[in-house]
């Protein structure tokens, strides 16, 4: 079994960390959005923003790691359309994980509420305060977030299908730590 290709320890850690942050951030976003105006709501907004900045930074690290550490090849015998689908969906996941935090940052700037990472590191404002622009960005942020979640569901469903129907060990590659990692 150990001869099978694996992801590195770093890649696996980043993968699950991002999974937890994305679900946490998404759930928090849905929940806080409908809360009545309160200190609690503003606190959750800050946490949500910190999660977004963390996702953005971790995806950058993941990108660098992926370039320098080749991921294991897809299981042999996988149909071409599935290979293409896997590449496209992975590309989509990376893109959305960068673009969604960015849209949130733009939205914060346009709303006039600066992003201050962990309440300590202020991020520069990307836009001037503008209510109309902020409202559009809220929509964009929401649509992109739902798109990401849909893609994550497809991503997870595909991994589960490969593991338990095709028995090709795809899912286990994200659990088992390789010797090189």
């Amino acid at each position: 079994m150990n001869a099978e290709p694996h992801y590195t320890r770093t890649a696996i850690t980043l993968h699950w960390l991002l999974a937890v942050l994305i679900f946490g951030g998404f759930g928090l976003g849905l929940y806080m959005h409908d809360l009545p105006f309160s200190p609690q709501k503003l606190k959750l907004y800050s946490w949500h923003k910190w999660i977004g900045v963390s996702v953005f930074l971790l995806v950058l690290i993941r990108g660098i790691w992926r370039i320098t550490h080749r991921p294991p090849p897809l299981p042999p015998g996988m149909p071409a359309w599935q290979r293409r689908a896997a590449h496209i969906s992975h590309g989509g996941l990376y893109l959305l994980m960068l673009v969604i935090p960015l849209s949130g940052w733009l939205m914060s700037s346009a709303s006039g509420f600066k992003v201050v990472y962990f309440g300590v590191i202020p991020l520069p404002d990307l836009l001037d305060k503008n209510k109309a622009v902020a409202e559009v960005l809220v929509e964009v942020h929401e649509i992109l977030a739902f798109t990401l979640v849909a893609l994550v569901v497809v991503h997870a469903a595909a991994a589960i299908k490969h593991q338990f129907i095709d028995h090709d060990g795809t899912l286990m590659r994200m659990f088992r730590i390789g010797r090189d990692g």
Binding site: F37, P39, L42, K43, G112, V116, G119, K129, K131
Partner: protein, 191 residues
Amino acid sequence: MRYCPASMLYGLRLLVLGTAGMITLAYAAGLWTVNADDSEISVRFKQMGVPVSARFDRFEGRIQFDPAVPRNSSARITVDTASFDIGDEDYNAEVRKPEWLATEQYPQASFVSTSVSADAQGSFIAHGDFTLKGRTEARDIRFSTEADGDAQVFEGSLTLSRKAYSIGDPDWNEVLEDEVVINFRVVATAD
């Protein structure tokens, strides 16, 4: 010197006119009404480390200022507390509540100077009574001033503690810092 009634009369007339003119000038240079459209009174505070700014849209004021003799100066500024605007109606509604600015009970905040002095750096200090949420306290406000065409511009700031003026629902203390800075850039035009 030859006696010449005409020229003496002329001289006298010049003296009277000149004096009157100087008085008019001194008066014109000294008394202004605040032009709210060109002025700005803003508020800055921090929420979980995030600097947030808001402003008061409605205020009025009368200023008498003599840079040569600062103690002849005086100012009275009145701010309509309900005009607090942070660009978000939820926030504005919260701030108007009794726990915060209590704008129904205390519709106005004000500063009325009792004296003005100059400081070594070329700016001035207005000593006076500052009233907020029904509480009046002696405060010193440092400001600088310069002429801008026909107008006179006064700039400065005042740092307050929310707690000292009982501003803020205690539930918010976890997310909102106590310190609030009021910045002003008041443009006044001669009457």
